[in-house]
Structure formats: structure tokens, C-alpha cells
Symmetry: C2
Subunit: 364 residues, 2 copies
């Protein structure tokens, strides 16, 4: 796969909702905008990280905010490209390629919109291999790429340029700006050279996600029948293990926008065993799947809910009382099992007094 074209967008969006692990922002509107951009500007060249020249200037661009807001706050076709243009003007250097913050959710598509309008390639890879709620959880930040100068642009054309010492301080500020701007902004940040990118990126996730989406589409149908095709896709990839955790009905779901994040939980009850309940903790994404005290999966591994009848992946913000769902878990890329990555993504980072145990070491 050397180009991303309009025909790839449905599969990319479908695969991206799976990898978003419940968060990432709904890709519906970004998909429509990407379709418009590719129609207008033509296909976007896909650049594998291993082919990126050392001195290339790579600018990641995407949305920052509470996923709930992505259902209502309409981004414009120009917002992503305008963000990069304003960023280029501020730093005095043109972007040679655009990268993605996270392949999960709408941020799989936003970089395509910018790259198409600017006529530059997009990197086949991203900064998470999934979706995480905070900037310092990005592989770029973990690999030591500086977050700033970062430029944020809101729907009304207001902008802010940040200079901060570290990504976790930057996260505070960009989140406050997004909340004050109505809940969501587009940002350009964590810019880097091609040399830096190669050790900071989760590789080949854009083309992988198109393939994942194709499998989800082709095997559309009851969730129990989806496990085998998913294992076929994940087992040979950077993700590895894929498991079915639970099937049941949503009996409780509650999230609120707190400090610019969607925070809450969902409870599912087993179809067959009354009273057997799975609890899912949420901060934008699913963080933890538990039955009583037993952990079935936790961040940074991926927890995903699929509609039980169709296997369509469901965002947290669309999960509703009464829905029948199946819950799957997937191992995270090995980058996220390094000490540096776990220090900012393990369950304790979200307030859970639990050590991270890799999915394949947990009781199935």
C-alpha cells in the first residue's frame, strides 16, 4: 500500500474505531472530511518510517479534546491544514511529512486531511498504536521528542502557541485550551526529524488499520465468529495476542466530561450467568476490565467493545444501557511494555492500585 485513497477510508475508519479502545473520538466526521479532501486533492502518499530520510521535518497533527465533543463539534475541511500552515509560519520551516498522534479514532484521518491539502506524504505509523487520553502517553513523548513549540487552532480560528518544558506540563495546558475552546482543538506538536521519528513511531499502523478494517467488514456478523479472523490479523502483527473476554448486556454506563476528559465506567452483565458482571473503567478510553477483583485486561493493552450481532466496534461515547456487546482484548505493541512507556501508561497512572500484568499472563 503506497497511497491512501478514498476507497481506503471506510476500512481505515472501521479499523481505527477498533484500535481506539473505546476512545479516540468518533471518526465519522473526520472520514467525511478526509473523503472531501482526497476528492479535491487526490491520494496521499504513504511513507513507511524505514524509508524516511534523516533530515525530513515531520509534523504530527490531530485533534485534542473529549471524544464526546467529536460527536457534535464539526471540524472544517481546512482546520487541519491551517493548523500546520500556522505552525510552519511560527517555526519558519515547511513540513515535509505529516504524522498521526494516534491511529485510534478520528486522529487516524485528520493527518490525511492536512497532508492532502498541503501536498505532502503521511507517515505509515502513529504515536500510540491505539488511543490514549494524554499527550505524555504518546510514543513520541516517551522517546524524548519535545512537545513544543505546539500550535493549537480552534473551530473559530482562535489559536495558541505553547512553549513548555515537558509533555506532561504541555498536556495540562493544551487540555485547558481545548476545554476553553469548546471541548476540542486541532494541534501541531511533537515535531521531529526523520531520524528521530524512526525510533519514536509505532510503525506501519496506518496500513495495518486499513487491513484490520477490511477484515471487520468482510467478517461482519456475530461477535463469537469474529475471534478467529481477529487472531489471524493480530497474531503476526506488532500486537500479538487477541482474546475474547466477555459477552453481555450493558446494565450501567456513566461518563462525565471532567477536566476535558470523558471519565466514568460501564457495567456489563453476562448473557448466560445472571449476576456475573464485567466492569469497564473509562478515561476517554477503556482502561481496565474486571470481574470483581479479577483483572481480565488493563492499559496499556487494548480493551475493545464490539456490537454482539454485527461485530461493529463501539466508542465509549456511543455505549448505551441495554446494548448487547462482546468485549475483546489485544496485546499492546512491545514499545509500550518498556519501562519508559509503562511509567506513563500503566494502571497506576490512572489511579488504580494495580501492577500491570501483560494480557497473555492473565488468566483467560
Amino acid at each position: 500500500m503506497k497511497y491512501v485513497d478514498r476507497q481506503h477510508l471506510d476500512d481505515l475508519a472501521l479499523g481505527a474505531v477498533f484500535l481506539a479502545t473505546g476512545g479516540g473520538g468518533d471518526p465519522h466526521l473526520p472520514r467525511l472530511i478526509a473523503d472531501q479532501a482526497l476528492k479535491q486533492y487526490g491520494p496521499v502518499e504513504l511513507l513507511p518510517p524505514e524509508n524516511v530520510a534523516d533530515n525530513l521535518f515531520v509534523v504530527p497533527v490531530g485533534s485534542v479534546g473529549a471524544p464526546t465533543v467529536s460527536l457534535e463539534l464539526l471540524p472544517s475541511v481546512d482546520e487541519a491544514a491551517n493548523t500546520v500552515r500556522a505552525y510552519e509560519k511560527f517555526v519558519g520551516r515547511k513540513a515535509d511529512a505529516i504524522a498521526s498522534f494516534e491511529i485510534g479514532g478520528g486522529n487516524s484521518l485528520v493527518p490525511l486531511v492536512a497532508a492532502a491539502a498541503l501536498g505532502v506524504p503521511v507517515i505509515d505509523g502513529d504515536g500510540m498504536g491505539r488511543a490514549f487520553p494524554e499527550a505524555q502517553m504518546m510514543s513520541y513523548a516517551i522517546a524524548g521528542i519535545k512537545p513544543t513549540p505546539a500550535l493549537a487552532y480552534d473551530y473559530a480560528g482562535n489559536s495558541a502557541v505553547f512553549q513548555t518544558a515537558s509533555t506532561d506540563v504541555y498536556e495540562y495546558h493544551i487540555r485547558a485550551f481545548a476545554a476553553a475552546a469548546g471541548g476540542m482543538v486541532t494541534t501541531a506538536e511533537h515535531a521531529m526529524t526523520g531520524l528521530e521519528l524512526r525510533s519514536a513511531v509505532i510503525p506501519n499502523t496506518l496500513s495495518f488499520t486499513v487491513g484490520l478494517g477490511r477484515v471487520l467488514r468482510r467478517h461482519r456478523g456475530p461477535a463469537p465468529d469474529m475471534l478467529a479472523p481477529l487472531i489471524d490479523v493480530f497474531e503476526p502483527s506488532i500486537y500479538g495476542v487477541c482474546r475474547h473476554l466477555f459477552s453481555g448486556k450493558v446494565v450501567d454506563k456513566s461518563t462525565r466530561i471532567i477536566g476535558g476528559y470523558d471519565i466514568g465506567e460501564a457495567v456489563l452483565e453476562d448473557f448466560d450467568v445472571p449476576g456475573r458482571k464485567l466492569e469497564l473503567n473509562i478515561k476517554n478510553e477503556y482502561l481496565l476490565a474486571r470481574i470483581g477483583d479479577r483483572v481480565l485486561a488493563s492499559v496499556p493493552d487494548l480493551i475493545v467493545t464490539l456490537d454482539y450481532e454485527t461485530s461493529a466496534p463501539i466508542n465509549c461515547e456511543r455505549l448505551r444501557f441495554g446494548q448487547r456487546v462482546a468485549v475483546f482484548a489485544v496485546g499492546c505493541p512491545s514499545f509500550y511494555r518498556t519501562e519508559a512507556a509503562l511509567r506513563v501508561t500503566e494502571p497506576r497512572c490512572f489511579g488504580f492500585d494495580l501492577d500491570y500484568v501483560p494480557l497473555e499472563e492473565l488468566e483467560a
Copy 2:
């Protein structure tokens, strides 16, 4: 008065607490820093607005945040000058003179610190003639000066440059940044030419405040004896009427930091008439003084609490249960009685369903 020197700082700080109408941030630390700056760099030239050349580039600088935070978050000697330097670098033009957001509280002193270090004059005047909680209430904004580009700098050296369409949107963003930065930041904003300044500034308030402070110091003593000297100072000035409203004991006081503002109220009970109570509403500053339904004074007129025994003006954030205080009111400058100014400063702007009635038309 042609220069501001170390010998003026005590009176300036004292007068500034009076004009801060309960808010404005405690000037104690800014006074210490200004003293250090004037010791190091020498006196600062005071530039009367009527003498400012049309093409002079005037940069207002000051603190933004919740006054409570000013008691604890120590600003550095360099923060104000570094803010202006970073601003100059961003806009590509040197500041010819520094102006003050508000003469009330610590922001009467912050511009002196910057001007001393940068070797430029400070404007004799400010953007409020008192203290108000929000940027769009500044005379600069009311006169149509654009708020951005605005640069904010925090105690740790993190910075943000904002570009917004209007001052009320800017207020949202700068407030969010200040809250995320620990509660207070230093900003340079609403830059203007000398020509613009002349119709946007509340004139001569810096020298006036030094004089007010001198009177408060010389007549230090019981509050009832202070009324006559205060009338002598205010009557011939841009403020006009000055009244004693109430004397009594603080029987309730409660504020919380909400959205980056100190919000709450205080209740005073009359020394001589048990059960006769004055209620003061607070948003950083005193907004409204009422006995039951009867309004004694309201924004944009000034409401001030003085210690009953010494006549020392007291900030909201230092007002405590059991304190014995006298409450005074002073008319606002005529700039704030124009339709454009009242539209952003009248009681309704703070959620009170009341028309503004000028102090001198209210029953004494």
C-alpha cells in the same frame, strides 16, 4: 511626579489596595520585587498619557489569575521583563513604554518591574482605574484595542501566545491557561500605539494612587476619621463621590476558586444595631453592597473595606470572620459610566438582576 522611585512604593501599594476594591491580588510580593528592581535599575520615568507620541508602541503587562494565589505563588524578579522580552520577540517590535492593566492591587507594581529592567518609561494611567476580574472589562478592550497577540508566561518559564478574535474569548483562554499554570501567570496583551492609548487609558492613576496612599498613611487611625481626608482626595479627581456605607464585624466570609476566579460573599453585622447586616458579593473584587434588598453601591463603582481601627484597606482574600471593618464606596471614573463600558461591567454582567444606579443617586 516625573519618576517612580523606591520611596513611592509603600504609598503606591497602599493606595493600590484601596483602589483594588477587595481584589487585584495582594501587592506585598510585587512591592518587594519592585523595590529590588528599582534598587538594581534605578527610578522609572513616568509618562503622562497626554505627552505620549502617536507612534509609541505601548505594551501593557501584568498578572492574571485568582487573587488568592498571589498570597502564595512567588513571582520572580525577571518574570515581568521576560514576558515583555518574549512578547517583543514574537511581534518583532520593541516596547517603547509599559502600561498597567489595573491600578488596583499588585498590577500597579508589575509594570514598574518590567519598565525598570527594560529601561523604558511607564504610563501614568491604567486600564481600569480600579481592579476588575475580567480582561474585557479593561478600558483598553472597551476602547477597541485588540487583545492579541498576547503572550503569557508562568512561574516555571512555560509560555503561550494567543490569537483570538475578541477580548471575551481571550479572557476564556488566558483564564484557562492561568488555572492550568497553578493559578497565576504574567501576560503582555492589548498592545497599542500612543495615539490609541490616549483614548483608551484611565489617565494619571499611577501618580493619583501614590497620593492616595500618602493620605491613607498620614491619616492612619480609626476609619470614621478617614472619611474627610478621603473626600478631599477623591472629590476633585476623576472618581468624585466618596461615602462611608457601613461599619461592623465580619460574621461570615466564604470564597472558593471557581474557574480561576475567587467567588463568594461576606456578611458584616452592624456594631450598634444587632441583626442589621451588610452583604458583599465577591468575584475577585467586591461587586455589590446590600442591606436586605437595598443596594448601597454596585460595580462599576468602587466598594472598599478598611480595617476599622487603622483604616488599612483589606483585600477580600484577607477578610476574616471577626474582623472589625468599615465599608466605603467611591464613584467610578466617567469612562465606566459610558454605555460601552457599562455593557461589560454593570451588575448584570455578574449575574445580578439589577440595573446600575450611580453611587451618588443611591440613598446614602
